[in-house]
Symmetry: C2
Subunit: 475 residues, 2 copies
């Protein structure tokens, strides 16, 4: 027979099988770690009532266990579980957890400065959202996303990024990986087997589409963005092409106006779905950002945005604006994946957008990142002409080309020795050589947004040392 | 050229292409709905500064658009977008959204009373969690779940449900659908093609495993839970079997102690993974709940729990306690699905568990649901012996058998006429007839937890009318 107590602010399950005594059951629970050190036990009166036994039985059991060192009891204080000598018994199959190597400095791309996260505004928005939330809001929700957030996003994306968006064509997702995975699943179910990516591009996303069964094809990129001619020259058109028109990842170019038009035209002619990954479109520093390609052809282009760069990746909040025909298939795929995104974060983000806190936060970050980019560019300029940064003044990262991949490996090894976390261009390439057979240039993708403000200067100093090969005493 | 303004608490994207005037660009944005009625425009001074044009240019544009009815401006007040006569222009491909049919009364199973959701405690826990959260916490997190929540769950599940759990074998998921989908994906990747379910069982979950490529096999259930003999008699053992030992869904039985042992033994002998869905194990009313089967064989049984019944389905929070060998495969599958669950909810739940608010909330709900179950049972007893409820005193629902499926359809049609949302047993069966060829009995799955307190009495009155066939004036 198994039993629990529940009267004293604590639910505890005890196995009282085969005539096992209460003391033995508690001993067992402490030994195998189910009762952690410091846990308060119920009063003898409450436990006796719960178990339907005499209070003396419980008192004796507690006394026995205290004598054995399993419990600590003091006059007038609750009885608590003692720390066993040597700690809790080993779990049956404990996996050793190897913590990831800790770096002192972090210049990884794709990370915002999370010390800027608007905790106060987020909390206030959560309060408003929870106060207003109905019982229905807290139940199983719409796989497409809560209508309030879809409305707020439609207004926001139209206003800020020129997206042609209505709430009924928006799907709220749990981060861009999930959004891309859902799209890839829908395409695969419809018979697709290939998907084109910019070469170079974010390696993580190629793993995501591969998990859905699609083979990635690389399309070259130059200073005007993806080479649409190369896409057109493929023997067979892919089902979809993933592009980063506002700020190519990682090289940093903007898609040229002629290419925007050509891409849309080609997509229409070959029925290729364009997936526009607008991961950092909010952050352009030198001029006003170019609007979303999606507005040119809302029925051929999927617009994908995320809160990972503007707010925090840990939120797992993103959105798709879909051609009408894809809304139902994507929602169906979502329903049998995880039903929908948590409703409290959805309503909180809707509040943040509606109240203007989101716009205010983005403006503050923009100023912050612009200053940081300027400092990195100044530093690279000082270090010498061959380290000139590529790309436009935008986003959270800048690429610097190093010549060849051997140099890249050397620099990254040096960064490791300086405890500087840094990413090379290497993993972003789909193929080892360019279409003309030339080896890929080495390079660094410097994420200047990642460190908190107090560490930024020192991270740049570490970068200087890594780039110049000078070893100093900072470590 | 596209441009935005950003100085006045508002980011707006405008297309100023091909020499289009400012007035024309704003007109266009209002017409296609990107600027919603009521949106405040920046001051003429701010916009002029942003665009680098003379202030007079902006003033003229605003005046022109006000004259045309696109904007409203009043002395001393900000200029706002006017409501267009006839509303905003139709979106290019607006989908008509058909709202789901609204029912007046709700007795659907699997829904807690969400008017009990502990908003104050949740918000306070969010405040504590956010205050303590580091920048690292807000970044890309561990696919396995935040260590703080895994520790809190390990303590909680050991204490309350007798689960043998260590943080390194827990995976935090976005609801039980996702947890089951991940397990099914891992099994399918390893070559599995079949999975056994109790017959009857929750139909939704069979769709989830089917989406991962697994064929469902039904195993009969009686008043002692799943018939382990029938599982043993399958021509080939399935890769996994999903069971609800604490409270069979929907029939409400508890797995008999002999069958618990037999299930574990069979699972070991045939290397069948047991997936223990402990969806409402916190709610047992007549005695202390039986502990998790998982404790008998932590290396052969996956324990799956959820916050959907104790807190709210809208949170999308659940957890798996896995045999060691499955931790890495499940985390890998998770990484390429949506990386991880949102960190703020994870940290909030950890706080709620640690502070004891969760235990307190569950106790409160238990009292509440026990009272409701008693009222339903009393009602059914009054209505006559053939409506005796099946199953133990536990959980959020009770099943009443009606004889045959024709009666079930009749009763459900009557419920619809009374605007009472109710579920029949029908969809829970995997096969139309029992192993002996008998037709399945009709029945109702009455979810007494679903309505808020003020509506419960009236929902029961509607149920009475539906069951007795009397039509009264309540509608």
């Amino acid at each position: 027979v198994a039993t629990s107590w529940s009267s004293s602010g604590l639910d505890l399950h005890l196995d009282l099988v085969g005539g096992r005594s209460l003391a033995d059951a508690i001993r067992h629970a402490v030994r195998d770690g189910r009762l952690a050190a410091g846990t308060r036990l119920p009063s003898t009166r409450a436990l006796a009532a719960d178990l339907g036994v005499a209070r003396g039985t419980v008192t004796s059991a507690y006394a026995e266990l205290a004598a054995e060192g399993y419990l600590r009891s003091r006059q007038g204080a609750p009885t608590v579980v003692a720390a066993l000598p040597g700690g809790r018994a080993p779990a049956p199959t404990a996996r050793p957890t190897t913590p990831p190597a800790e770096h002192r400095w972090n210049l990884m791309p794709g990370r915002p400065d999370l010390s800027l996260f608007p905790k106060t505004a987020w909390l206030a928005a959560t309060r408003r959202a929870l106060t207003a939330a109905t019982a229905t809001d807290l139940g199983y929700g719409d796989p497409q996303g809560h209508p309030a957030l879809r409305q707020a996003l439609a207004d926001h994306l139209g206003r800020v990024r020129g997206v042609v968006a209505t709430p009924d064509r928006i799907v709220v997702c749990g981060g861009h990986s999930q959004a891309l995975r859902l799209l890839a699943t829908v395409l695969h179910t419809a018979g697709a087997r290939t998907i084109a990516f910019e070469d170079p591009s974010m390696p993580e996303f190629r793993l995501v589409t591969a998990a859905a069964g699609l083979t990635a094809i690389g399309i070259p990129v130059d200073e005007h963005g993806i080479q649409v001619d190369a896409l057109a020259a493929l023997p067979a058109p892919p089902a979809a092409v993933v592009v980063t028109p506002a700020h190519q990842f990682p090289l940093g170019s903007t898609l040229h106006p002629h290419r925007r038009a050509a891409l849309v035209e080609l997509a229409r002619a070959t029925d290729t779905l364009v997936i526009e990954d607008d991961y950092d479109g909010e952050f352009r520093f030198d001029r006003q950002p170019v609007g979303a390609v999606q507005a040119l052809a809302p029925d051929q282009v999927v617009y994908a945005g995320t809160a990972s760069k503007t707010l925090a990746p840990g939120l797992r909040l993103s959105w798709l604006v879909l051609p009408d025909r894809l809304v139902d298939p994507v929602c169906r795929a979502r329903r049998f994946t995880d039903r929908h995104t948590g409703v409290i974060e959805q309503l909180t983000l809707a509040e943040l957008l509606r109240a203007g806190d989101h716009d205010q936060h983005v403006r503050r970050c923009r100023t912050h990142y612009r200053r940081r980019r300027d400092r990195v560019v100044d530093l690279l300029t000082e270090l010498g002409g061959e380290l000139a940064p590529a790309g436009i003044a935008a986003g959270l990262h800048v690429v610097v080309l190093l010549g060849d991949s051997r140099t890249e490996a050397d620099v990254l090894a040096r960064a490791e020795r300086h405890s500087l976390q840094l990413e090379g261009l290497g993993p972003t390439w789909l193929s080892d050589t360019s279409p003309t057979g030339a080896p890929r240039p080495g390079g660094l993708v410097i994420g200047y947004a990642a460190p908190p403000e107090h560490a930024f200067g020192l991270a740049l100093r570490a970068l200087t040392e890594v780039l110049t090969g000078r070893e100093t005493d900072t470590r």
